[in-house]
């Protein structure tokens, strides 16, 4: 069970001076985000030695990509398709959004490999495997609607050509049409990301509660 971290002893050993004394000013400054609000009370301050491998960073990097996708996506949605398709800054931001999506899936797959290869799906952790799988599958859906909301030829072609493959129920029970750019954009920026955010928070909360699994 997680112990409260507000004891005087805990505060001392995790204080800035103690950390500087332990491994120098550079590392102490760089890790400050994990000791200050809002993350200070959320992150565990120690981890097993075996987990100090870059493989164990992949989930965190995937989350970083999600954060970047959210921020860049809000700016893109705010300024609109004309801006991202014609303005040079808009085109670069749209491109970084595209590459961050590629990176999101790349690191997510590496995270998945790490979780599977270390058997971190055992016992009660299967629930988190389920949540992670939902993030992957919903992420693929988010990616599809991102493609449909891109506003270019590919969007038009995929909207029509994928219809029979992906929407066996007529246009999602007549709720929307993938050829409808407005609906695609709304789903991409306002519907799926909210669900994804909830799933990711639940996933991280379980990691926090269950700790890092011991490898098989």
């Amino acid at each position: 069970m997680a112990q409260p971290e507000t004891t005087e002893t805990t505060s001392d050993v995790h204080g800035y001076r103690a950390r500087v004394a332990e491994h120098g000013r550079f590392r102490a400054v760089m890790e400050s985000f994990a000791y200050l609000p809002p993350f200070g009370g959320m992150f565990k301050k120690t981890s097993p030695f075996y987990a100090e491998s870059y493989w164990y960073c992949m989930g965190g990097i995937t989350f970083l990509m999600f954060v970047y996708l959210t921020i860049s996506g809000i700016i893109l949605a705010w300024l609109g398709p004309f801006w991202w398709l014609t303005n040079s800054v808009g085109m670069v931001l749209k491109s970084t959004h595209y590459w961050a999506a590629q990176a999101f899936f790349f690191f997510l797959v590496l995270h998945l490999i790490r979780v599977w290869a270390t058997g971190a799906f055992r016992g009660r952790r299967w629930l988190n495997w389920l949540l992670g799988s939902a993030v992957l599958l919903l992420g693929l859906g988010e990616n599809l609607f991102g493609l449909l909301a891109r506003g270019d030829w590919e969007s038009q072609f995929v909207a029509m050509h994928s219809d029979d493959m992906l929407f066996t129920q007529p246009f999602f029970f007549h709720l929307f049409s993938p050829a409808n750019f407005t609906a695609d954009l709304a789903i991409h920026v306002a519907v799926i990301p909210v669900i994804l955010f909830g799933l990711i928070i639940a996933h991280l909360t379980l990691v926090r509660l269950q700790g890092i699994a011991r490898p098989l």
């Binding site: 760089m30 970083l64 961050a100 599958l137 072609f157 246009f171 050829a179 409808n180 700790g211 011991r214």
Partner: protein, 331 residues
């Protein structure tokens, strides 16, 4: 607080699955300091890729541009709207459309008839006054006539839909009624962009909806996709037009679509993907034997950090709260 030097039950190897190699379970201060550096490195890489590699951006097709490039294809598509042989006619219920002939041909012509001149209004009146069987006869006859001025397929590769030669459209003769007049006027509306304006105005709030549906009726969109290797059977699911990086993470659905039995059909595609997802979610972590594969393959040793020769493991800053943390060796 318990001081029993035993790892929590959920962290112990399952019965019959002993750990094969030592792992150091002592806690150390988490290396959070690496994350800002990783984030900065990734931001630089993303910025460079965004600035220099860019991202796929094929200009969207417009009705005006498509019709100027291939007016014969526009005439074919519009005639098929009247004969109910277009893709949108086949999907009329699914798309929630009205009759495509009215939506894409007679509706726009009626709206723009004051601009198009008296003969268009007269042709429209003649067409709409005729019984539906007569309308169908005229349109079908015209569709057959269009086939006579359509070149043979080039053959040798992916099958593409050929368009009638629009330069020869005035050479057609037969029992077409007012259909040729209507089609040529509608092609003119399409060429000037008025058809796109009409369709956007007819479905406000649903940007490009009807426009994209009609563009897919025009043979050019699918022909362009075939020419760029983007149809599903050409592994188009993992490609982008004019761009070397595609959605590689869709490789499993792409394999299912191209290689699996019935994967080419909508139902087959969905069911196969569902099966793969269920195997992934349930069989991989839960099925005895399968769930032990990582241990049998000794994969954890490739993942976990081990102390290097002579490396001292830093003290656990929370040692008082982690009394169970000891070096664990092989059983």
């Amino acid at each position: 607080m318990s001081t029993t030097p035993v790892a929590p039950l959920e962290e112990q190897p399952a019965a019959g699955e002993p750990s094969e190699a030592a792992v150091v379970t002592q806690h150390v201060r988490h290396a959070y300091w690496k994350y800002p550096i990783i984030a900065l490195a990734l931001a630089i890489v993303l910025g460079l890729l965004g600035a220099f590699a860019g991202s796929p951006n094929s200009p969207r097709a417009t009705i005006a541009q498509t019709t100027r490039q291939d007016p014969g294809g526009a005439a074919l598509a519009l005639t098929q709207e009247l004969t109910r042989m277009s893709a949108s006619a086949g999907n009329q219920q699914e798309f929630g459309l009205g009759p495509p002939g009215e939506l894409f041909v007679t509706g726009p012509l009626r709206s723009f008839s004051p601009l198009l001149g008296g003969n268009i209004a007269a042709a429209l009146a003649q067409y709409q006054a005729a019984p539906s069987s007569q309308q169908a006869t005229w349109a079908n006859n015209y569709l057959k006539a269009l086939a006579t001025i359509t070149p043979e397929s080039m053959g040798g590769g992916m099958e593409t839909a050929m368009s009638p030669d629009y330069a020869k459209i005035n050479t057609l003769h037969g029992d077409f009624g007012p259909v040729p007049t209507l089609i040529k006027a509608d092609v003119q509306l399409a060429r000037t962009g008025h058809l796109e304006q009409y369709l956007e105005a007819r479905d406000p709030g649903h940007t490009l909806h009807l426009v994209t549906i009609w563009l897919y009726d025009h043979p050019k969109m699918l022909n362009d996709a075939v020419a760029n290797g983007l149809t599903d059977d050409q592994w188009g699911m993992v490609k982008e037009r004019g761009y070397s990086v595609g959605p590689w993470y869709l490789i499993i659905p792409a394999i299912i679509h191209v290689e699996f039995p019935n994967g080419v059909t909508g139902t087959g595609f969905v069911l196969w993907n569902l099966l793969v997802a269920l195997l992934f979610i349930f069989a991989l972590p839960l099925l005895p034997g399968v769930r032990s594969l990582p241990r049998l393959l000794r994969l954890p040793r490739l993942i976990v950090r081990r102390p290097m020769a002579g490396e001292e493991i830093p003290p656990d800053p929370d040692a008082g709260r982690h009394p169970e943390l000891q070096e664990v060796g092989p059983p």
